[in-house]
């Protein structure tokens, strides 16, 4: 029996108001919109019980409910219902189920459940096509179902109906796969997947050489592989998990890019620092860790979730952020997540979609705005619900991100240096330890996530690769682990279930002791009859795998149960060198652990970097720089993102020091600061740097500028170059092309060169190498859209005293304004050139030897409290930096460009908008002038004063006024781009 409870607000819901205005933006005019929440309950209940249930789900002050009936406005033209597809995580449904179980002390069986949906009612002169458009806007057909009824049909059917999205599976047995077939067929298996009775099962992303290696291995074993074995190898050998492009030999670099350059940089820096080395655990674990103070280690990790976010922006982003939280939980014995980071690369949200996954405008990509809204909302849901502050982030735009957006998410963690007298970052499963899976259950969500993200996105991209996160299940898990189980010493090792699910987490931990034995039928499932291969590789969220000594299993499972978290023993760690998996007593996998991890054939990658010859354009100087500056402030990459910063909780855990918005005028800063330990004045400074706009000219300098930016931004708020670590996230494209690999190698070389010069070690990193979209344009012509080579550098600095931090807003009229660092004519790839439709050639270079002297002086100056405000000069150069400062401080600036230290610049516009790296603008109290100038020497040039008149005035190189504009006008331009978001 299925019951339907409908709940509606007495007054118009603010969701209805919000939808109505959003539709107006889309040109769909409505007279009225109403929203009704529904619960479909599949279980037998008496009327009396249903009344109790309805009452527990309703707030009578705001709402009313009906049972097995419908609520609808008296007049409406269309009703639109949005619910989930079978198997998609329904968090509200699951909470409602828990409420009912607790209220009536009953439990739901396997084929019983609670499913939610929303019904929207529209009144007005709209057509069914309009309502279908609303459905497309609100829902994602990959995870949601949309039903539309007009008034008559709704009345005739007495509402929207009672169809529940229960998963129905047929029991499919494990099959063996014959690899003794033609190379052609092998390629097909690699690309389209194993052929089951249900059809091809989706990409394995195994190339021919890998399939040959697997075939040869099983020849020696004298049998064919099972589907479980093949899928497992595909996961473990995937680009996503093994990072083959960074691991393999490239040209003459024997050790490959990772060992030969990235890791080598860290090793060289650590050796050079000697006793001052602050690295604790780098590259070996789920996250990297450095010293926070004598008692604590601080960890950091950044991930990307690009491919899932292209298909389901909300689900992709929410699973991205809660997924990277688990990298903190999986560091050592488990670090507590204390700060989140994010970064989004989108296409212009004002433009419509022009990409299709099939010909004849079929299977369209999502429009840029929908991707943007969904991703933002996903990190909102994940970060806020997890109680982790999310202060640090950015959003940048380039139309080449329209096929695949880039969604960066990161988490900083904190863990005591020692637990029960042992180093907290060391762990290891022991033979005989039980394999325990805890947290969420396994469903068919996230099948082939790892292999799918290792491929370019095309027609065959699988829908089951998408998943919705359940942050509360993870929060319960996280609290129980890092606040209780860890300190009770209940386990020997822990790792996250991310890409590849159990197949990767268990096999990875099995290396610690030399083998594992898993019984897949012991794994808790979301619904019965899931096939063994799916259980093994599913990427269902919110799960950790632990090695629990037999004597502690009961204590562990009982603790988890008391915290509302499910935990199950699914096998045992061994030392026989095998990875053995059974299902209902039958062996479905039994392979050599060494082959599983190291059997993938190595490659010798060839790269080639042909740099196109470009020149700097000859664009006339604008006549009115007031207008130019105002336009620059409104650009997507420069404009204020207050709506975004404000919807992410950056105060929770009570350690907020420098917030994402600074000054009375609320300007987005480039770095944030958090005091993660309430008992300490020490603080963590976080920033990020990326310059994909420079990649078209030179990826070496793109990477150098990204590193300099991440460091410089942190220094500006009070960061310390001598206690700072970096992370690299490469998001590349077409990494099977020599030219792209050449661009990559050059960027990685810059990472080595600049990290070692600055003495800032890489502690963790990740790469995503195929951010390409392959499909069709509106005319049905094949099209490939590749992201510009993008490198995100994240910085983490530990400082001794939060009270010494500095913001970017000028504070007192009469203060002196200085520029630190010289400006060169470096406009190639700059916002200024791009605004004029040109690229140019002279991309900013970085002189790290000179810059590090400046950075150390600035740290000294902030420690001595000489600085009243400090701005890191970024996109848009001095002009934009000065404008943001006046907007933030609501005080004027009077600036003379003739005093700016410069090299090879003769034009005002070039001086204002050049993006030369390693520069700051600072304001200081007049009384600190002498101390300040002694400290900085020739690096500082005095260029003006802070004024009480609310204007930005700039005198040009000829001594004439070139900018004279009210702060309000600048502020308006800075804020208007995203005002309605």
């Amino acid at each position: 029996m299925i019951h339907r409870i409908e709940i509606a607000n007495h007054k118009k819901d603010s969701r209805a108001h919000a939808l109505q205005s959003r539709l107006k933006e889309e040109g769909i005019l409505t007279d009225d919109v109403a929203v009704v929440d529904t619960y479909l309950i599949e279980k037998e209940f008496s009327t009396k019980e249903l009344v109790k249930i309805a009452s527990a789900l309703t707030n009578p002050i705001l709402q009313r409910a009906v049972i097995d009936n419908f609520i609808a406005p008296k007049e409406f033209n269309f009703a639109l219902e949005i619910g989930f597809l079978p198997g998609v995580t329904d968090n509200v449904g699951s909470t409602a189920k828990q409420i009912v179980e607790d209220l009536l002390k009953v439990s739901f069986g396997n084929d019983e459940g609670v499913y939610t949906s929303q019904v929207y009612f529209f009144k007005g002169a709209l057509t069914r096509e309009d309502v279908e458009k609303v459905g497309k806007l609100k829902a994602n057909e990959l995870i949601q179902r949309v039903t539309i009824k007009d008034f008559a049909a709704f009345q005739k059917d007495s509402g929207m109906g009672k169809a529940v999205p229960r998963v129905k599976l047929i029991d499919v047995k494990t099959i063996t796969v014959n690899l003794n077939v033609s190379d052609e067929e092998l390629v097909r298996i690699g690309k389209e997947g194993v052929k089951g009775v249900e059809g091809r099962r989706g990409p394995l992303a195994l190339d021919l050489a890998s399939l040959h290696a697997i075939r040869d291995y099983f020849k020696k074993e004298k049998r064919s592989p099972s589907d479980v074995e093949l899928e497992s190898l595909a996961q473990t050998w995937s680009e996503h998990c093994k990072h083959t492009i960074f691991a393999n030999k490239m040209d003459r670099l024997e050790e490959g890019l990772y060992k030969g350059l990235i890791k080598r940089a860290t090793n060289d820096i650590r050796a050079q620092k000697g006793k001052e080395d602050f690295c604790v655990s780098v590259f070996t674990d789920n996250a990297g860790g450095i010293v926070f103070d004598d008692d604590w280690v601080i960890t950091d990790k950044a991930e990307t979730h690009n491919s899932p976010s292209a298909l389901d922006p909300f689900g992709g982003a929410v699973t991205g952020i809660v997924g990277v939280n688990r990298d903190a939980l999986g560091f050592g014995m488990g670090a507590k997540p204390v700060i989140n980071r994010y970064g989004f690369c989108f296409a212009d949200p004002h433009k419509p979609n022009d990409l299709y996954r099939a010909k004849e405008k079929k299977n369209p990509s999502l429009p840029p705005r929908k991707i943007m809204d969904g991703v933002i909302e996903g990190v909102n849901a994940g970060g806020n619900r997890s109680g982790i502050p999310t202060p640090q982030g950015f959003m940048i735009f380039d139309d080449r991100y329209r096929g695949k957006p880039l969604v960066f998410v990161g988490t900083v963690g904190l863990i005591p240096r020692e637990l029960a007298g042992k180093p907290s970052w060391k762990k290891g499963a022991r033979p005989g330890d039980k394999i325990v899976m805890t947290g969420g259950r396994v469903g068919q969500d996230g099948i082939h996530g790892a292999t799918f993200s290792s491929e370019a996105m095309d027609t065959g991209s699988p829908a089951t690769a998408v998943q919705i996160g359940d942050p509360i299940t993870q929060k319960k898990l996280s609290d129980a682990i890092v606040k209780e189980a860890r300190d009770q010493g209940l386990y020997n090792s822990i790792t996250d279930n991310g890409a590849g699910g159990l197949s990767c987490s268990v096999a990875e931990m099995a290396r610690e002791c030399g083998g594992c034995f898993v019984e897949l039928d012991k794994v808790p499932l979301k619904y019965p009859s899931l096939e063994p291969w799916k259980i093994w590789i599913s990427e269902s969220q919110e799960r950790m795998t632990l090695a629990v000594p037999p004597a502690k299993v009961d204590a562990f499972i009982s603790l988890m149960a008391r915290r509302g978290v499910e935990a199950a023993v699914i096998g045992e760690f061994r030392d026989n060198g095998r990875c053995t998996v059974t299902y209902k007593g039958y062996k479905v996998m039994d392979i050599d652990l060494a082959f599983l991890h190291d059997g993938a054939p190595g490659k010798n990658l060839r790269s080639l970097y042909h740099k196109p010859k470009r020149s700097d354009p000859d664009v006339a100087a604008p006549e009115n720089l007031n207008d130019t500056l105002t336009s620059m402030l409104g650009r997507l990459n420069i404009a204020g993102q207050e709506f975004l910063s404000m919807q992410y909780d950056h105060e929770v855990q009570a350690g907020s020091v420098i917030k994402p918005l600074q000054g009375k005028g609320r300007v987005n800063g480039e770095a944030t600061v958090v005091r993660p330990l309430l008992t300490s004045e020490r603080a963590a400074v976080l920033s990020q740097g990326l310059h994909p706009g420079y990649s078209d000219i030179d990826t070496y300098w793109m990477a150098a500028a990204s590193i300099d930016t991440a460091i410089r931004n942190a220094i500006a708020v009070g960061g310390n170059l001598d206690h700072m670590a970096l992370m690299d996230n490469f998001c590349w494209c077409s990494s099977d092309e020599a030219q792209r690999l050449g661009e990559l190698k050059s960027a990685v070389q810059a990472c080595y060169d600049y990290a070692t010069q600055y003495g800032t070690p890489f502690i963790s990193g990740k790469d995503s190498m195929f951010n390409d979209f392959k499909g069709y344009d509106a005319d049905g012509k094949p099209i490939k859209v590749s992201v510009p080579p993008t490198l995100l550098i994240s910085s983490l600095s530990v400082i001794p005293d939060a009270n010494k931090c500095v913001t970017l807003d000028p504070k007192v009229a009469g203060d002196l304004v200085y520029v630190l660092g010289a400006t060169r004519k470096e406009l190639g790839g700059s916002e200024y050139y791009v605004m004029q439709g040109v690229l140019g050639n002279t991309v900013p270079h970085v002189n790290a030897q000179r810059a590090q002297v400046l950075y150390r002086s600035l740290f000294q100056a902030t420690q001595k409290e000489l600085i009243a405000s400090c701005m890191s000069v970024n996109l848009g150069g001095l002009g934009v930096a000065l404008a943001k400062m006046v907007i933030a401080g609501e005080l004027g600036l009077d600036i003379d460009l003739r005093a700016v230290s410069k090299e090879g610049i003769a034009r005002d516009d070039h001086l204002l908008f050049s993006e030369t790296q390693s520069r700051f603008i600072v304001t200081i109290n007049l009384s600190k002038k002498e101390l300040f100038e002694v400290l900085f020497g020739r690096d500082a040039s005095l260029i003006g004063t802070v004024t009480s008149e609310p204007k930005l005035r700039i005198t040009g190189l000829q001594g004439n006024p070139i900018v004279d504009i009210e702060i309000a006008a600048l502020g308006d331009s800075y804020r208007k781009t995203f005002r309605s978001y």
């Binding site: 607000n9 819901d13 603010s14 969701r15 108001h17 919000a18 527990a56 789900l57 707030n59 002050i61 705001l62 709402q63 968090n91 509200v92 909470t95 409602a96 828990q98 409420i99 607790d102 909102n380 806020n384 619900r385 997890s386 109680g387 359940d470 942050p471 509360i472 929060k475 319960k476 609290d479 008391r562 915290r563 509302g564 404000m646 919807q647 992410y648 909780d649 950056h650 105060e651 929770v652 855990q653 009570a654 350690g655 907020s656 020091v657 420098i658 917030k659 000054g663 009375k664 005091r675 309430l678 939060a802 009270n803 931090c805 913001t807 807003d809 504070k811 007192v812 009243a868 109290n925």
Partner: protein, 267 residues
């Protein structure tokens, strides 16, 4: 006496550590207790003097913020809670905790109807989760928690904070002096519904209400997020101005006053 504080946690409550820390710093003894440990009888409410329901996202706000946690408490330990509030003890619910208290009917509890839902925290007018600093003015003379505070700068961070109440109950709240906090401008003048000073559209600018005894307080803003001088929005400007005046800022944030009031009550 040094009061013992029961700081509730579980199912997505997430401000328990800083809330416990605030009470400790104010001189109380805090214990973070999982709601299931109360239900299982591992811990008893009777041994504590203060109950704090911290902020967070209990049950992810599913079925309405605070609703599922209120159900969990009501279905299992309602007696203990009702006994607790009837004794000379203190209760505070912050943000999600306020939503739980309201759903449990512990505030405003007008006309002696403890346990009846009389008000609600609806979705913000913006229909979006919002984190920003606001100014509050103490409006009640009877509330124990707000004593001696005139204006308080604190952050809000919520998606459902719009205080909603009937005309009749609003009058009673005013008549009984149960409006603890109201959103105001920085100079203390009423926000009068104006965004962003009133950040969610709350009726009569109400940011917090207490029960008729003044011992039970529910509030949307987070005083525990202002324990340290560097927490405050705009502290770098304040610091610079103070330095020019040859002064220094106190290192403790003003939000601590709320927790100190509670400890003071038991002296």
């Amino acid at each position: 006496m040094q009061p013992k504080v029961l700081v509730l946690t579980g199912y997505g409550i997430n401000c328990e550590e800083e809330t416990a820390f605030a009470f400790e710093r104010a001189g109380a003894k805090s214990e973070i207790i999982h709601v299931n440990d109360l239900i299982d009888g591992v811990r008893k409410m009777a041994t504590y003097q203060i109950l704090a329901i911290p902020g967070g996202f209990s049950y992810g706000d599913d079925t309405g913020s605070g609703n599922a946690m209120a159900n969990r408490i009501k279905n299992n330990v309602e007696d203990q809670v009702l006994r607790f509030v009837q004794m000379n003890k203190l209760v505070i619910g912050i943000c999600n905790g306020f939503q739980v208290l309201t759903n449990l009917g512990l505030v405003p509890a007008l006309d002696g109807k403890v346990g009846e839902r009389q008000a609600a925290l609806d979705r913000n007018d913006s229909a979006r989760y919002t984190d920003r600093w606001v100014w509050l003015r103490r409006a009640s003379n009877k509330c124990v928690w707000t004593r001696g505070i005139e204006l308080l700068h604190t952050p809000i961070a919520h998606g459902e904070g719009k205080f909603t109440v009937s005309d009749e109950n609003l009058k009673k709240l005013q008549a009984n002096d149960q409006i603890a906090w109201q959103y105001v401008h920085e100079d203390g003048s009423p926000a009068a519904g104006e965004w962003p000073f009133n950040p969610n559209g709350a009726r009569a600018d109400i940011a917090g209400v207490c029960d008729p005894t003044g011992r039970v307080l529910g509030m949307m803003p987070h005083p525990e997020r202002f324990m340290h001088v560097t927490n405050e929005d705009g502290w770098t400007l304040k610091k610079e101005l103070a330095r020019r005046a040859k002064k220094s800022l106190p290192s403790e944030g003003e939000g601590m006053k709320v927790f100190r009031n509670a400890v003071e009550y038991f002296k």
